[in-house]
Symmetry: D2
Subunit: 144 residues, 4 copies
């Protein structure tokens, strides 16, 4: 499937769900696609015992993984099929303690071969969302 | 257990193994501690189908998770028990295709409450290591 | 002068102007404070020949310097007098060609000893602002 | 002048000196090229009153600027003439107090269109070098 700026959001979503379900790693983490649109993504990951580190908080690696996915699903479609994360940085703000993590990606700008994307990762506890981590990175066109 | 610069490397290793085995997330990823010393760490993660994304490469989130662990195990002991990753950035250089990923963390400098650490993540294929990703981040003293 | 969350914005602005005018480097770059409030800052830097690299664009170092100042002026007051930039990352999106650069900093979250801040750097050309670069970093409490 | 991996180091150095002397911003900061080779660079910046912030330390923006130059001069030649910094991150370790700053860039890996580079920025005081800041970033082929 070829993606570009004219791809309808419904096709985009079908394509994204297909990619996500084809990622064994994302499946192992229980990540689900909530919404996707051109330049935006929302993903959800449950917090189970398997996501935790030794102190009982969500492991920073699991949080970074979810952030990476939100960056890629927000910026990827703008860069065409096969786009990959080139780099990202993440800042942690509070321990991930709760029922689930929700990551929202948003393209802030893009050029011919790169999309610069930000993603906020919220922790959901007792129905209240709080900012747990925030990331910024680059999604690169394949072959660039 | 309280850690400081005088902790013998053997105690450091026992402590690190205890932490790692207490992290369900690291266990799910199959991460093993190869070596640890003051300011240095080496961790290994097998590449199984569960670590992969839809194209058959190791998922960037799994690579970032391993990098995060190498940063924390290198810088954590210098910051005392309970130290956490405050932030990091990672650049991806080549697809993670092979049998295993090996991450080596190295403290490059430290102050009262932070250690700045770098980690190279190698992919091991047919017995040859190649640089797959490289990370730089901050490990923060607890309560700082 | 001691700063905290109850400091009126007018005092905050007076304090910020005093700091900026005491920074020879910021003065050399011609940086001016446009506005400041708790958790937010706006700074402006003219683009003169002195800001340029060999191709005639604003040097990436000048852009990074302005971003660093926007991060520090947004997050600094929340961390108290003497707060410093601990780390930041910047992504460049388009060449800085125009009359001036405008940087807007915004705290996205803060804890006891750190504020995580983002800053967008716009280039102003013919009266139109376009996103030139975007940064994310940490402002640290002094002595932390 | 066209650069590639076969360019002799002497030509590389002549080319780099020409670029640096054509950068008004670098000249304003007094930056000098110490050495350059394929994948490596060393630059020096004097610390004068003009480089300082309000507390008398070298401004973080000046340090980031020097780091940016070291990254670009290390990675640029590998990416061909006209290569630009796409992104970088910097961690600050100690105040820049002394006579000069010395930045050393080193390519850690490269692909078709990007070189990933690290740069250590040392502060030189009373003849002794200490690590002041460390950076990691991407130099991108022009037009990529």
């Amino acid at each position: 499937m070829s993606l570009d700026e004219n791809t309808p959001d419904t096709d985009l979503e079908a394509h994204a769900r297909e990619i996500l379900s084809g990622q064994a790693f994302s499946q192992m983490l229980g990540v689900e696609l909530v919404t996707i649109a051109h330049g935006r993504s929302e993903l959800r990951m449950p917090i189970t015992d398997s996501h935790k580190q030794h102190l009982g908080f969500t492991h920073g690696g699991a949080i970074a993984s979810l952030a990476d996915m939100a960056l890629a699903f927000a910026g990827g479609p703008m860069m065409g099929g096969g786009a990959v994360t080139q780099e990202f940085k993440i800042n942690y703000l509070r321990p991930g303690i709760g029922e689930a993590m929700i990551a929202r990606g948003q393209v802030v700008g893009s050029g011919r071969s790169q999309a610069v994307v930000r993603a906020d990762v919220m922790v959901l506890a007792d129905g209240v969302e709080k900012l747990c981590a925030t990331a910024q990175g680059t999604i690169m066109k394949p072959g660039a």
